[in-house]
């Protein structure tokens, strides 16, 4: 019987990996991407705030303006050959903002006046949702033009990692005319003009007039540019709801991580009505049997005191207990999910994914068919 996870990698066009920070989400996303590429797919893995070492492992830059393919030698090394292909894009907020400005400005003058604006230079990276918005935006373009067979989105490490779904909404809220109206009073209504005057006065008091004017320039330029890429938020949301999209929750066996994972499951499936498919239990000791218990007979070649042997036994007991706990956890998740959803365990890899080889080990641990 084929594993449901393999089926998802085979059939879907978009896989969204959600989960708490620190569970190895970026690494699992990369492993799924490698797996898909090995199966002959053209894959893009999109990640926000990636670890330096993953970028190094794949041999790609950390924040390029476009997706990057790792060197062919690295792809071969990790078992990817044509037609399979892998590209990675690690998003950096400032690079993204600059790219957006350059691409969507009306002309060079407009672009350069914004790029050199004092306020823009200092605060763009802080625009809430900019990264998520761009990620979603890029995904939209890639899905439309068939450049990739599969896109894997590693969601940003925020407490509420589903914020990216709301990014388009938040950006449009920022662009909402109502906010800018009081900066740029063009309204005909006498009352609105009066309110705007009052508010401008408040802004003048708190910011100083020069700053307020500069801020106004910044916002009118920036909002004009953002509005050019402001797709219908509903349209972007509908991509996630399509049948060929899949939401996976990545978690570790740690209690806090499991609690967050349950929250993500509930939120994606019940509140947001997204196609949730199952769990990947990362760094798990479930299924790590085939080992021996440390007893005396094994150590005839070593001179070992009873005291030392007992310490080794303690470690073994501890590991066995953990293994049992993780196995129970996996079974409980499976039981609760029922047959239509899946839960897979991935092993704890002691070195962490520091290079391609360990990433390959993780890929090999995914269900083989």
């Amino acid at each position: 019987m084929n594993s449901p996870l393999t089926g998802i990698i085979k059939d879907k066009r978009l896989i969204v990996c959600c989960g708490a920070g620190g569970v190895g989400k970026t690494t699992v996303s990369a492993a799924l991407a490698v797996k898909a590429a090995r199966m002959g797919k053209k894959v893009l893995v999109l990640t926000i705030d990636p670890s330096k070492r993953l970028a190094e492992a794949l041999g790609v830059e950390r924040s390029p303006p476009e997706p990057v393919r790792p060197p062919i030698s690295k792809l071969r090394q990790i078992g990817i050959s044509p037609p399979g292909d892998l590209e990675a894009w690690m998003l950096d907020p400032q690079v993204i903002a600059d790219t957006v400005v350059e691409k969507y400005a009306n002309n060079k003058e407009e672009a350069s006046s914004l790029l050199s604006n004092r306020i823009y230079k200092n605060v763009t990276a802080m625009v809430a949702g900019m990264q998520e918005y761009t990620a979603v935006q890029a995904m939209h373009t890639f899905l439309k033009n068939d450049r990739y067979d599969l896109i894997i989105l590693d969601t940003p490490p925020s407490r509420n990692a589903l914020h990216f779904l709301e990014a388009p909404k938040r950006i449009s809220r920022l662009l909402n005319g109502r906010i800018f109206r009081f900066f740029i009073p063009s309204d005909t209504s006498l009352i609105k003009r009066a309110v705007s005057t009052v508010l401008n006065k408040a802004m003048d008091i708190s910011l100083g007039k020069t700053n307020r004017v500069e801020l106004t320039t910044f916002f009118s330029l920036f909002s004009a540019i953002l509005s050019r890429l402001n797709h219908n938020a509903g349209e972007l949301r509908s991509i996630f709801k399509q049948k060929d999209s899949s939401f996976l929750v990545i978690t570790s066996p740690a209690q806090e991580a499991i609690e967050e994972a349950l929250y993500f499951e509930k939120k994606t499936r019940d509140d947001l009505d997204m196609p949730f498919n199952g769990y990947i239990l990362n760094r798990s000791l479930a299924n790590t049997n085939h080992k021996n218990y440390p007893d005396e007979s094994l150590f005839s070649n070593h001179i070992i005191s009873e005291l030392t042997l007992n310490k080794v036994k303690d470690l073994a007991e501890h590991e066995l207990a953990q293994m049992k706990a993780h196995t129970n956890l996996l079974e409980n998740i499976r039981k609760r999910l029922g047959p239509s959803l899946f839960a897979e365990a991935l092993p704890y890899i002691s070195d962490g994914v520091s290079d391609l080889e360990t990433l390959a080990t993780l890929v090999d641990a995914l269900p083989s068919n």
Binding site: S51, I205, F299, S350
Partner: protein, 307 residues
């Protein structure tokens, strides 16, 4: 480094990546300091209305509000809330009457303050400043020690670099006055310190070093590093080689735990080599959930002893 020195500030910021036990440790330090008679306010940075709070969960609550609530003797908790900061700021700078009430009522202004870059951080910052300045009737600070659980490294750096960036931008006026006042607290090594929580593993240590670099660049006084969930090492130095050989030669249970002990020691060595800040090892404890912070806090007591 003892607990008394650690908590001898007005403000402690605890940061670190997800999954390292940062929230639990922030709670543990707060509990320990409160037990030792300090009036402590434990704060978290509130992002969105309705978000569940892992910090509040530790105290059996769903979330905290922007108004400090009593949790225990000497221990209060709240969230830093941008809209609250904005409101307090507007009340502070605007003359009362028409302008103030128009500003407070204006949905457009609220929306702008929430969505516009760095205004959100400004709200947290001003809210924090107000809490620092709150006084009891006897003229003593209402909150002697404020401990902030910083939810994401990005938030930490945004908050700590905010004064510098905005002062450069705005140069003068009430916002700059407030920021300068705040700067005098958060950049003063006698009044504030920033701690990074991490795990004794390669990647978390790399991330902690990166965060420390960022904090250092933003001029925030560094307290040090909490090396959390440090596994206990039952072996004597002379046993190590034998044990190592045994685990290499045989496929037996316990190998993973042993490798973890080795990695934790390597992580500690690396930190000692690469940075010159205090490193506090926090033993791994088996219990989780509600009891964990209190259990760690126990270990911190008596505060005069080493932790």
């Amino acid at each position: 480094m003892d607990m008394e020195t650690i908590t001898s500030k007005r403000l402690i910021m605890i940061s670190g990546k997800g999954g390292v036990g940062r929230t639990t440790l922030a709670a543990a330090i707060a509990i320990a300091a409160a037990k030792n008679g300090k009036r402590v306010l434990l704060a978290e940075v509130g992002d969105n209305e309705g978000d569940e709070s892992p910090l509040a969960h530790l105290f059996g609550k769903k979330n905290f509000t922007e108004i400090p609530a009593q949790l225990d003797q000497n221990l209060m908790a709240c969230r830093l809330w941008a809209p609250q900061g904005h409101k307090l700021f507007l009340q502070h700078i605007l003359p009362g009457g028409a302008i103030l009430s128009a500003a407070l009522r204006s949905k457009a202004l609220q929306a702008f303050l929430t969505a516009a870059p760095s205004f959100c951080e400004m709200g947290w910052f001003y809210h924090l400043l107000t809490l620092i300045k709150e006084m009891n009737s006897d003229g003593q600070p209402r909150h002697q020690l404020i401990i902030i659980d910083m939810p994401a490294t990005g938030h930490t750096l945004a908050l700590t670099t905010l004064p510098k960036i905005l002062i450069r931008l705005i140069r003068s006026g009430p916002i700059v006055d407030a920021l300068s006042e705040g700067q005098r607290v958060i950049y003063d090594p006698d009044k504030s310190s920033s701690w990074v929580v991490t795990l004794p593993e390669k990647l978390p240590v790399s991330e902690a070093l990166e965060l420390l670099e960022g904090l250092h660049a933003s001029n925030v006084p560094i307290g040090g590093i909490f090396l959390n969930r440090f596994p206990q090492n039952p072996f004597q130095p002379d046993e190590f080689d034998t044990i190592n050989r045994i685990f290499n030669d045989h496929n037996i249970y316990g190998k993973l735990s042993f490798q973890r002990i080795i990695r934790s020691q390597e992580a500690e060595k690396r930190l000692l080599k690469e940075i010159d800040v205090p490193i506090i090892k926090v033993d791994e404890l088996t219990r989780g959930g509600f009891e964990l912070p209190a259990q760690i806090a126990q270990k911190f007591n008596p505060i005069t002893g080493d932790v």
